[in-house]
Symmetry: D2
Subunit: 415 residues, 4 copies
């Protein structure tokens, strides 16, 4: 009963409540999905603690990765049909690249991205995982890695994996909309994919798909404010971050803290990118998932450190910060008053109050033409950024960053 | 077996694939639905010939009217819960007003609005129907009529029936999206309705509903270009209009034209608003529906007039105009060339060619703040037009009219 | 602007709210869909007057035919993948056969099947249409006709088109469920199709699909009693049948009756199968659709014959019979009493009362193993009728006919 | 930031992708949901390891409990409307009873029901939790407990919570169908609830709802074989059970085993019902959830005991047993051969091989009239068990138990 001796049958099926049946045609795809690195994604929520607001949102990165691969297959079929040359090797490469694009995510994904391992982006870790897998699979992932890192000549393959209109986004919008029940976030990936075309080695959308793209951008924006940056979701994420931060602080001060073995390492040590490369930290990281975090936090609720136990207990029992959002910064005076009240209420110090009262900003732009553009292919053969499309006057507005200030403080305190 | 002797049971149910069960609580609502005037709406497509492009879009004005009434009931419940006083009479009034808001629509609704009866808007005819029903029902519709015509003091009741965020629009967007399969047009009427509030006797949306409204405006805009003003739909509608126009032209010239009795009147006579008032034309109009039009056009396909038979046959067999859309006007020269070619091809005169080659414009603005605004109620109690909301920079862009020029000509001709 | 000169592009798309995009790959399929014979199906409701109960059920035979063809394509792909040899010609043949399987339906389909043309089944007319089309298309439909008539050696192709688990049923159950909103009627055509296999030239289902088939049979049964044989739907259909019957009776007695030209023929004449063959009646029949019926009935509501005007007016205004269902026959005495009361109420004769008071039976069996079986292919290679499957003890029960007696009478009369 | 000081607003909303918005009207319902006992359900999967087969099935008991309460509210409204007297106290009581009906579930629910705490049914633990909460809430749950335990005179209230057609089942079928994507399992809770009626203090279904009930029974049966007893799901559950069993075995033999503090207690001790009553074990149990199990199993994959590490590692990496299902028992000889091969392969003892090769049976009956019946209320006022309904001949067949034998063994071994 040692791993990976399962027999592969062409056409193995994954059930998806969104797309129906997803069939797997290549053995290597099957082997990658079976690999412990990938199975780990079953234990990482796609949306962290969002289920505290949208109770259905318990779907995982595992499901999303397979869904994004399914859409990429549809896109490849469409492009081939329109005459774009994509070799079987390239097709497999882009499918592997999208399948593994999120494999570097740690527990609670974005929320803890800089708390577990500092200053290392999850995409960097994805690349490290891919390289390790490439060794195990005798170089069969080389082309996928080139596509993922955008060093492969046919740039449009990379754009399917990562761009402002990539298959990643098409899948997560639909998926997050489905599981959260925020129906307005729904888009038609089918319609958008049918409009895809390659022009000048770039990905573009046929002119008649222009309103579908507009709708996609607006749906994404809505999902940001309604779900991803929903104020209660933010509040929960800040609480989780602060809980872990306090645990790391205590660990640094040599306090004894329970943690699952996998988590313990990352609480008591600060790893650098160098450690990942040289000291096989990647295999320790591969043991870490949401279960380590929540199982440990549940224990911390009984820790002798008052700050840690309060933060942990609040996380577990959904006793979140009160949070205010505003388009303007909050007055420093108000923040000071809140801090004062909190210090008295909880009988804590100046440093400690920062765990309970804090401000900051969140930003979102629906469309960021500086990174890469969404190209429209017009009937006369010309290509243009969607932001300049004649009858979509509002796209340029979408490109502006929307910044919101937040202020968090204990629920017991009044502003 | 004379009409209207059915027994009313409180809670009679209408099946709706969108909302599930819709139950009827008031006998007068039941009697109005049973009335021949209202049953007629079963025979009028909500979207005219749109099913020629979206084959599922065969839903009727009957279904829409009941759906819009259902949403209005939800809105009334929400507002009452938030403390707005709405008396039982007012509640019944607004339900009747929305139920009957489209009762004046003729066959093929918007398409033939000015072909069957010229210069009389369907809302005017709705009012005439309501007045007749009010007589039959001994004045029980008086309050509904006031609400419909916006003469009732509590203006917000009228706004539920007719405004930029009325229950009419909430229903038709969802319904048209459902039956056409254009999923991106879907909105969350439930979420929007939960955010409704009355402030200063106006309808407003709570601040946190701002992104849902934005999404609603964009979804509506998408539905306009993707469905309502889809170029093939436009082409079909122009063909239908021209077919009727030719029939009326021939009738005016005393040619013999088959038509069902109900339609015959309106082809051989031109009625004015005055006729409706004085000569009981309303009861003749009440006999007219989509079946009269299509059944007659099918016969016209064999008419001796070459123009009429060609137009009719093309309508029946979905042999539509070729249509071009452009943001700029088409060159007069091109149009002349097309007309010339068409005259030769069909061997027709200068006047006749206008039935086959023509240009024009269609316009749409997603949000029209000149008519009435969508108000946002902020947490500090202030009210403001959504177009001025800080982080929705693109709403003002939505308010701009988008105008497109079209050019239609026979499919056999090349431009 | 003469028909059939449209340019075909591989991959033309039909929108379907159920399956999404359906693309057309073969020019002949496109040409057949464009043909007036097929376009006529746009004007024939799939479910007759069912929309009087389920207001959303306005979908047409046109949409169903294309949907069934889509499912057949999925089935063919599945079978080919499992090693069954299906040549491109056979694939095209079965697609054409299913596309045209209902082309012989007249207006209001099943309801008027024996009222418009007596003693000729719609499948016979479908064959006549196919033969005519085969001439027009230079013999390209020959293989399709063999499959349709089950004379082609590979019997499983016919079974895809017509059997107890054919693509026709898979489509109409899903479609009727979707448009009526009776969600319990939903099935998973995707799952069933994935389980299809050819064994001994028969269609079979893999063993593990056994519960899906059971569910399909039960869903179909539910749809029969909940929708197709819903008592109010039956009542409406009887009323429509009687209306037409009266019109034909009057015509036979040389009364003057308005009808659209297409309908007039079929009211004043009784055609036989021979007429279809010899006198090109098929082309007259091809002009007939739901619009002729309803447009004519609307006029009959004002006919001088009291019986006809009453029946017609009741049909139009949804003033249906009261209907009782029972597992036992109704007492003759009760029927006589009802007839007596009705004669008095309406002041009509003994013969005439039969239009208003009548009884009969409707029957349904969910599974009919006498016609053809649903085969299960077991893992050991054996094949067996699903009715004998070990753990589905109730299938045999499903095979029993369920018969119900109905009694119709005017709503004004009490039993 | 101490718990339970949140302010309650009437009409607080829970988002549900199935029902839309669920609003909470009573403060005590809100307080119970906020309580740590109930919040714990957020961390218990509704379907254990089913997500290993249906990747979307990550929904929790928390969500199900709130959904079942929502349906109960609909049922109460329907019954009251039909004249059944339900006082406000009774309404609140039944809502609380259903909300808490599953609160006694431990981690991985049914799978580990007899592994964590032996011989104590989850309903017993639910009652213990309710009693504790009743103390905290000053007796406000007394009526709910009576309803839950079926000691309240109005028996139909209990039947809403627990019977063959209770709101529990209506919710979980819809919910499990939605999240797994097994669409055939969908039922219409709306239609069934509308048919509910109280007759002779029993819950019954109006005659015309008979086909909906049949469909419900068949859908449930399908869900059993397709999802709940799916062979791969069974295999995963057996693996999880055996893993825990081995851990408890080692603990009993004083081996050192890592476990989260909450789990440690239950691995090293065997608690009886008496312990729950006398020693406040309930509060320790309340700390236990899926996270403790998975976090501990992840560590066990590295345990020095070969058996434990193999079982644990297989669980984590989805390296499940091969499983065969059969309607007949497996031959003892075959089992012995498999055991022999396994002993050699893994180099383990006679006792140890039982963790890897074993047989047993699973049983399901779609309808169990011995427990309590589903009553049909006929139009003549009579009540009868649905199994005797005239035209549902197959219900009695549904009442028969279907038993299947299973045989599990390592994937590396061939039978």
């Amino acid at each position: 009963m040692i791993t990976s001796n399962k027999i592969f049958h062409k056409g193995r099926i994954f059930n998806d409540p969104i797309y129906g049946f997803i069939s797997i045609e290549d053995e290597i795809i099957f082997r990658l999905i079976e690999h412990p690195y990938f199975q780990r994604l079953r234990r990482i929520h796609q949306l962290g603690l969002t289920h505290l607001v949208y109770s259905g949102a318990h779907h995982t990165r595992f499901h999303h990765a397979i869904g994004a691969m399914y859409l990429t297959k549809q896109a490849v079929d469409t492009l081939k049909r329109k005459g774009t040359v994509i070799t079987p090797e390239e097709e497999l490469g882009v499918l592997i690249a999208i399948l593994l694009h999120d494999i570097g995510h740690g527990p609670f994904s974005h929320t803890l991205e800089n708390s577990i391992v500092e200053n290392i982006h999850h995409e960097t870790i994805s690349t490290i995982f891919m390289k390790k897998l490439n060794e195990e699979f005798d170089g069969q992932l080389s082309l996928a890695i080139e596509i993922f890192n955008n060093t492969y000549p046919k740039k449009f393959l990379h754009l399917l994996v990562s761009s402002q209109l990539d298959m990643d986004r098409l899948d997560y919008l639909q998926r997050d909309s489905f599981f959260s029940g925020v129906v307005e976030g729904s888009i038609s990936s089918e319609r958008i994919i049918k409009m895809l075309v390659v022009a000048n080695e770039e990905l573009a959308i046929e002119e008649k798909g222009i309103y579908s793209v507009e709708n996609f951008l607006i749906a994404r924006r809505l999902m940001y404010w309604q779900v991803y940056l929903h104020k209660t979701v933010l509040s929960a994420e800040f609480l989780l971050m602060n809980t872990l931060k306090r645990a790391k602080f205590l660990a640094k001060n040599n306090k004894d803290i329970f943690a699952t073995p996998a988590l313990k390492q990352f609480i008591y040590q600060n790893y650098t990118l160098d450690d990942f490369d040289k000291h096989a930290i990647i295999d320790k990281f591969a043991l870490l998932d949401d279960y380590d975090i929540m199982a440990s936090i549940k224990v911390w609720a009984f820790h002798e450190d008052k700050i840690l136990s309060l933060l942990a207990s609040n996380t577990i029992h959904r006793n979140l910060y009160k949070i205010k959002l505003s388009s303007k910064p909050f007055s420093e005076k108000d923040v000071l008053i809140l801090k004062d009240k909190t210090k008295k209420l909880l009988n804590i110090s100046d440093e400690e109050v920062a765990y309970f009262v804090f401000t900051g900003t969140v930003t979102n732009s629906a469309y960021n033409p500086k990174k890469d553009k969404i190209n429209i292919l017009y009937k006369d053969g010309s290509i243009n950024d969607i932001a300049h499309a004649a009858d979509l006057l509002n796209i340029s507005a979408l490109a502006k960053d929307v910044e919101k200030h937040y202020l968090c403080f204990p629920r017991e305190i009044n502003l």
